[in-house]
């Protein structure tokens, strides 16, 4: 019984899980193919690519240059500390690097995949000891601090390792998304299936890239993530990233205490559904809720055609961040689609029943999780059903 004009609302209808399985197994994309979707996805991924470039540079800077710095006051300045930059920072004319840190913390906290397994290994513990001993010899404050809180510095090194790994991951993704925009301009990508295929190819091409990380203390290099650990791009960083940031996420700052009091937060981290694919694009009185920070950053780098497209819809620039968030979720479904396709156990046209069964199991496992995500954006905007 809607009491308001129907054009004021868009129905949040979601395709059922079986429909998603069908799309995945038939080679259809999760996101409907349309010129508007192409404009949104490629445009928003281009701005995301620009933002990821900045995030990546900063994360790698933090991990390498602010390593075990107990007071990293200027960690967002990438080593360039000038009065003008400080003023712009205080005036909030800057990239929200806090969002990058939020993603890193989500990965560190959820701790899935090969990277986390290595961070729990004896080899990593031994590396930490050596690094801390070396650092404490050069830094009396840390030398004093370490005996008082012996688990603090190893935890900082775990955090730095995750930070560096995420920086390396985003380096690849940034280049991939910017290449996608070029490909679309060149006419090589003209549809949503082509977008998904482009991303899938990029992920597959980078799948085996090694993930390594070394710091220099004095003039002496120390491996934190050595080549011998055998960490690679796709399995050890990309998949845990998708799990932690796209799917699980974390209850947002400011709302967590209320949700916890209401016993709305599962004690099983595996059941979390606060990730980017589940986020409500409409902010609810929550300044500082992480996705809104990313939307602010992407707004600074929006390609003009997409910005123009946003200006022509609903409130123009007035609700542009909501529209960016909606487009961003569409694009993240494309990336997730590419990841699902890329990790499908067998080719989709496999004839063997056991192979088809395995593919179906893979698709069903993903569909079960995606069915309660913001899949209402997949089929475009439809008027409300009274």
């Amino acid at each position: 019984m809607p009491v308001m004009p129907a054009e004021l609302t868009i129905d949040g209808g979601m395709p059922p899980a079986e429909e998603l399985v069908q799309r995945l197994l038939s080679g259809e994309t999760l996101l409907a193919d349309s010129p508007d979707h192409l404009l949104e996805v490629v445009g928003v991924l281009e701005s995301y690519g620009e933002v990821l470039d900045a995030y990546s540079i900063n994360l790698i800077y933090q991990a390498e240059r602010q390593f075990l710095n107990p007071f990293p006051v200027f960690k967002y300045f990438n080593g360039e500390i000038t009065p003008g930059k400080i003023w712009r920072y205080l005036n909030h004319d800057r990239i929200n690097f806090e969002y990058a840190e939020y993603c890193m913390k989500a990965m560190l906290w959820h701790g899935t995949g090969g990277l986390d397994a290595y961070l729990d290994s004896d080899a990593f513990t031994a590396s930490c000891k050596a690094i801390i001993a070396c650092k404490c010899r050069r830094d009396p404050l840390l030398g004093l601090l370490h005996p008082l809180a012996p688990s603090f510095l190893p935890e900082l090194i775990r955090s730095a390792a995750t930070t560096h790994a995420l920086g390396q991951f985003w380096r690849v993704m940034s280049d991939l998304f910017l290449d996608l925009a070029s490909a679309e301009r060149d006419g090589r990508v003209r549809s949503i299936p082509a977008v998904v295929a482009f991303i899938k190819d990029g992920l597959v091409a980078a799948a085996a890239n090694p993930i390594t990380y070394a710091v220099e203390i004095g003039s002496q290099p120390h491996w934190v993530l050595p080549p011998e650990a055998g960490l690679s791009f796709l399995v050890d960083v990309a998949v845990p990233y998708v799990e932690a940031v796209f799917l699980r996420g974390m209850p947002f700052f400011g709302t967590v205490s209320f949700n916890a009091q209401a016993r709305q937060i599962s004690t099983d981290q595996g059941r979390f559904a606060y990730g980017a694919l589940y986020a409500d694009p409409l902010p609810t009185m929550g300044a500082g809720i992480p996705p809104s920070l990313l939307m602010q950053d992407m707004l600074r780098h929006l390609p003009e055609p997409l910005h123009q497209w946003y200006r022509q819809r609903s409130r123009g620039d007035g609700d542009v961040r909501v529209k960016i968030c909606r487009s961003f979720q569409k694009s993240m479904f494309c990336v997730t689609n590419a990841a699902i396709d890329g990790t499908m156990p067998h080719p989709l046209d496999a004839g063997e029943p056991t192979q088809r069964q395995a593919n179906r199991a893979h698709a069903e496992a993903w569909a079960a999780r995606l069915a309660v995500a913001r899949t209402d954006c997949l089929d475009g905007d439809r008027p409300v059903r009274a």
């Binding site: 009491v3 308001m4 609302t9 409409l282 609810t284 609700d319 961040r321």
Partner: protein
């Protein structure tokens, strides 16, 4: 040229009246926007004239000033006598301001714009006349003159149930008028005086029993207009069906005719009987405040909630009038002005919500404060308005309620404490309103299916800057009056002090006469 020599008070009647005639008699077929501009110019002229009155006006003189006296129909005691004092001047000023707001915030011109603007201006002229009249019959004429235009404004430009609401309003207000006229005629008949002047009646001239009967008629007559419980039932219906500009006028100005009449004629004409009835009036005030507040809590329609809050807040004026101390009466004047501003602001904002969402239902609206897709400025102003209505310091509501309570506490401690509880209840129902309609996840549907509810992508039309100008101006007035109460106190203090001392003065005169 001396401003005091100009017929400024007559101009306050003539300007809106001429504007009303000009809009109705405008040759050809003027565009609605043209008519609106004419009405705006007329109202600006009226406000400027009201401000000019401030120049020769002497705030230290409690008597009626700038008097204009012309014999009209001497045979029946009807004279054209106008005057202004510290009680009527603030109300004249707020009448001009709120009529201008009503004209500016008029958005829909689909039906008979010529008559619509003409009626708005006519009401403004009639209200000015009622506030400035220095003759009982002249007051009654102006009091009745605003009745038909308002009835037409509700019955032509109202909502779906406008016919019922307008008829109810007409019946109630007609009874109110009959009682008031009956009291005025009864006074003339019983005292043998047919000059219909505002001279106080003493027990030497009229027996206390007769005074009480006449005062009772005035109390019910003006109690309907204010309105006081149990004569209030027309108000929520009228507000619910009236358009936003009419609700602004109704709550901001027209209800004040009741409170003004109560102070000027109920208390002013029968000070001794008033003092006799004062304890009962204080209890009546407390009942009205508590009933209005509790009824407001039970409402789901935002407009009905604001309407019931008016019932409660007008009770404060009766409490102050019952106590009749200088501070309480100053508080009553403050309350009339601050309630005029705050209720007008509340109705404006509710109107904006309704125009943008199609609903005023608190079971339907959620999260309108949403910064991207909601009505954030409207929501922010609503928070300010409810804070002011609940009497938070720094805003007009605090000053008026503080003065009323401070001035009444010694005279009627129990009634005052009960009214304070009502003030607390104001915070309850308005926080319910803000919490339900403005906080949380943006939604404009009933929460029947939480999952679907959370996924609705709502695209409300945004509020243009020009649409917010009247509300911003009223909000500024609420804050300025809250921070600089001396501006109004300066105008009204001498008059309210003199009104409070009237019974003492009469007693002294009586004793002098007896000795």
């Amino acid at each position: 040229m001396n401003l005091a020599d100009l017929p400024l008070l007559s101009l306050l009647l003539a300007i809106p009246l001429a504007g009303s005639l000009a809009t109705i008699l405008w040759p050809g077929t003027p565009l609605p926007e043209q008519l609106r501009r004419v009405a705006i110019v007329v109202m600006v002229l009226q406000i400027l004239t009201s401000l000019l009155v401030l120049v020769p006006f002497d705030p230290s003189d409690p008597e009626l000033q700038l008097r204009e006296i012309h014999s009209w129909v001497p045979g029946i005691g009807l004279d054209y006598r106008l005057g202004v004092d510290g009680l009527s001047l603030p109300l004249v000023l707020i009448n001009g301001a709120l009529t201008l707001v009503s004209v500016v915030c008029t958005r829909e011109f689909s039906r008979r714009p010529r008559i619509y603007f003409s009626l708005l201006l006519l009401i403004s002229a009639a209200v000015n006349g009622a506030f400035l009249a220095d003759n009982l019959l002249l007051f009654f004429l102006f009091y009745e003159l605003e009745l038909i235009p308002l009835w037409l404004l509700i019955s032509i430009w109202g909502g779906a149930g406008r016919s019922y609401a307008a008829t109810k309003f007409l019946i109630f207000t007609a009874i109110s008028g009959m009682l008031i006229l009956g009291a005025f005629l009864g006074l003339a008949l019983l005292t043998g005086s047919v000059d219909f002047s505002l001279t106080p009646v003493t027990s030497e001239r009229l027996a206390m029993g007769s005074q009480l009967v006449l005062l009772g008629a005035l109390l019910v007559g003006f109690g309907i207009k204010m309105p006081l419980v149990p004569f209030h039932t027309w108000l929520p219906d009228a507000h619910t069906q009236a358009s936003t500009p009419v609700s602004v006028l109704l709550a901001g100005v027209l209800l004040k005719l009741g409170t003004y009449g109560l102070l000027r004629f109920g208390m002013g004409l029968f000070p001794e009987a008033w003092a006799r009835l004062a304890p009962a009036l204080a209890i009546w005030a407390a009942v009205s405040v508590l009933f209005g507040s509790l009824a407001a809590i039970a409402q789901r329609d935002m407009k009905r909630m604001v309407a019931y809050s008016s019932v409660g807040h007008m009770g404060y004026v009766l409490l102050a009038a019952a106590a009749a101390t200088p501070v309480a009466l100053l508080g009553a004047t403050f309350q009339m002005v601050s309630h005029g501003l705050i209720s007008a602001l509340l109705f404006l904002l509710v109107g904006t919500v309704y125009r943008k969402t199609g609903s005023r239902d608190l079971d339907v609206l959620r999260g309108l404060l949403n910064p991207e897709r909601g009505l954030p400025l409207t929501g922010s102003l609503m928070i300010l308005a409810v804070m002011a209505s609940a009497g938070l310091p720094g805003m007009a509501g605090f000053i008026s309620e503080f003065l009323v309570f401070r001035g009444s506490l010694n005279a009627f401690p129990l009634a005052t404490l009960l009214c304070m509880v009502g003030s607390g209840l104001t915070a309850v129902y308005f926080l319910l309103l803000v919490n339900r309609a403005f906080f949380g996840r943006l939604a404009i549907t009933p929460v029947d299916d939480p999952l679907r509810h959370a996924r609705l992508d709502i695209q409300l039309p945004s509020v243009a800057t020009r649409e917010t100008v009247p509300a911003m101006a009223l909000a500024a007035g609420v804050v300025v009056l809250g921070l600089l109460p001396s501006t109004l106190g300066y105008l009204s203090e001498a008059t309210s002090t003199a009104m409070a001392q009237l019974p003492v003065l009469l007693a002294a005169i009586g004793e002098g006469g007896a000795s």
